[in-house]
Amino acid sequence: MGLDRVSRRQFVSGLAALGSLPLLPTGAAAAQDFAGRSLISSGFGGSTMDIIQKAVFDPFDKATGARSTQVPMQSAAALARLKSEAGNPQIDMYQFSGGQEDVAKKEGLIQPLTAVSQLDDIPVGLRDPDGSWVAWAVIAEGILYRKDKIKEPPRSYRDFLKPEYKGHIAFPAITNGYGVDFLVMLARAFGGGEDNIEPGFEAMKKIKGETIFKAASDLPSLFGQGDIWIIPYDSGNAFKLQTSGLPVGFATPEEGSPAVNITAVVAKGAKNADVANAAIDYMLRPEAQIEIARQMRWTASNPKTKLPADLAAEVPDVSQLAKLNRALINEQRAQWIERWNREIAR
């Protein structure tokens, strides 16, 4: 089909720009035959899901003969689905963006990755020490701002308290993963952190009258019709907004860009666990990760991935990202949400 041709051409051009031929045969020799088999994975929905389908699953299908389908659901809903189907999963493979893999592992809902040959190439911290999950991409968070309203790019999370932005600030609710990270980074900016969230709540209370939204789908309206100038979010959405023509810039705060792992796991008892393992291995390939970086500005998790110079300038390297203690955050999340609902959203 035409679409396949486009993605293949993009692959070839990506490789040409890369100019490093030795990467070509990576895993190609080990291509398995999954003709007639199918793979069902959760997906993030919308254009993100389409891009991942074309950049990863379609070429994987072509190479192995499998048929991969993504079912759109947000990470939290995906975890709920995995839990409700525990023991008899209808979906073989899950993709998470909010640290849900930790909970899934703890509750025994997923199985270790047994046939992902590149797993050891991925740095510790981007993969589970026991091999239960692996991050196949990383998203850099930071500050999105209207370039025409804010001349000097924001430098710190403390800038959200600047009086000149009053009435033009928006931030995500804490049920959104980026909302939790914003709270933690505010705490860090004012002397706290994951283990001392108090300064975060103190700072957020000062801007509780500002606009609070729940989903990334509100971003274009907020910047477009909401008269909003500054929002804590991620580089991927900044790129989407820029592509749609909004004058939005992305700034890396001095406290560091919190990193969001995009992880892949295999459901315990999955009927197509072998296909899922091979697909995850495919996701870790440099050529797939370059394509994802090109189309979404997501950071590659495999250090062997060498981005072409033009891309490298726009996508932060994985070593530049601040790591948050997700386990510690997940432990306190329910408690923070209760408190947030009472002190901030009211």
Partner: protein, 292 residues
């Protein structure tokens, strides 16, 4: 399959007087039991357990916390406001269409119900465009000089009420239309021939004859309004939390299923209670008037 089985069974046995209605109801009853009663009961059962033991902990948590009382109050307030608005806006529309002699009456009725063909999600997105600070509503009010600063209805309870009223208005109009249509216009004419001005005839005759339609329409709108999820989630955002969005949050974000099911049970009980009281009050009033 079930229906076919029931029919052959009915043919074989000599159909007794009591047996036939039972057989006719059996397929519906079976479907109802399997797909509604049983899931409903097992949902309620989840809320009565805490770490494997029977406990009222989740209900105590709800009723001992003023935050949840406020949540319940906000949800009921949303339901009542939306019902009142749709009633006030719906009665004239339904009445005019029902009394219309033009051949366009049917077309108008279809036009009224037209919004129902568009999903509530899409309609709520439409309101989002209008409600933002730089949106149409704010700019229009500014231009008219009604407000002197841009205002934002987005992420407020007022915004949710306006959007939900629009989403649910067609249901109210449809219900009332059927009732007005069945009231003989000659009754109004009789009232007017006895000297009542048209508005008094409308009040004394038509509306007094329509409590059934008003009850049905209000109950429909009220129950849909307080259980609505899409519009409060999209337009209300984080600040205008209602029961439905909180149930979603507890189920999907926090995976606290027992508490979520306790919330659903509480919502269900309050809806039933209010519906019964409302229906009873309207019924008694119209019965009292008929007697006097």
């Amino acid at each position: 399959m079930t229906a076919a089985g029931v029919m052959t069974a009915g043919k074989g046995a000599a159909p007794s007087r009591i047996f036939v209605p039972v057989l006719i109801f059996a397929p519906c009853l079976l479907v109802y039991l399997v797909f509604f009663v049983w899931p409903q009961l097992s949902l309620l059962a989840v809320s009565a357990f805490d770490r494997g033991q029977v406990s009222a902990a989740h209900y105590i948590r709800f009723f001992s916390d003023e935050y949840y009382w406020e949540l319940l109050g906000r949800t009921l307030f949303l339901g009542v406001s939306v019902t009142l608005i749709t009633l006030i806006l719906g009665v004239p529309v339904a009445y005019v269409i029902a009394r219309m002699r033009s051949r366009y009456a049917a077309l108008l009725l279809v036009l009224t119900t037209f919004p129902l063909l568009v999903s509530a999600v899409v309609r709520s997105f439409g309101w989002m465009v209008l409600f933002f600070r730089d949106g149409v509503v704010s700019n229009l009010l500014l231009a008219l000089g009604l407000i002197d600063q841009p205002m934002q209805l987005m992420y407020t309870l007022t915004g949710v009420i306006i959007a939900l009223a629009q989403v649910l208005l067609p249901l109210m109009v449809l219900t009332l239309h059927g009732v007005f249509k069945s009231i003989d216009p000659d009754l109004e004419h009789a009232a007017m021939s006895l000297g009542a001005p048209p508005w008094l005839a409308l009040w004394l005759v038509t509306l007094r004859l329509a409590p059934g339609g008003i009850i049905a329409g209000s109950l429909l709108v009220f129950s849909l309004a307080i259980s609505a999820f899409a519009t409060p989630a999209l337009v209300g955002g984080a600040r205008a939390n209602v029961m439905a969005t909180t149930i979603y949050e507890q189920t999907i974000e926090l995976l606290d299923w027992p508490f979520a099911s306790a919330l659903s049970a509480i919502l269900l009980v309050f809806v039933l209670l209010i519906s019964l009281l409302y229906a009873k009050a309207l019924d008694r009033r119209s019965a009292g008037e008929a007697a006097s």
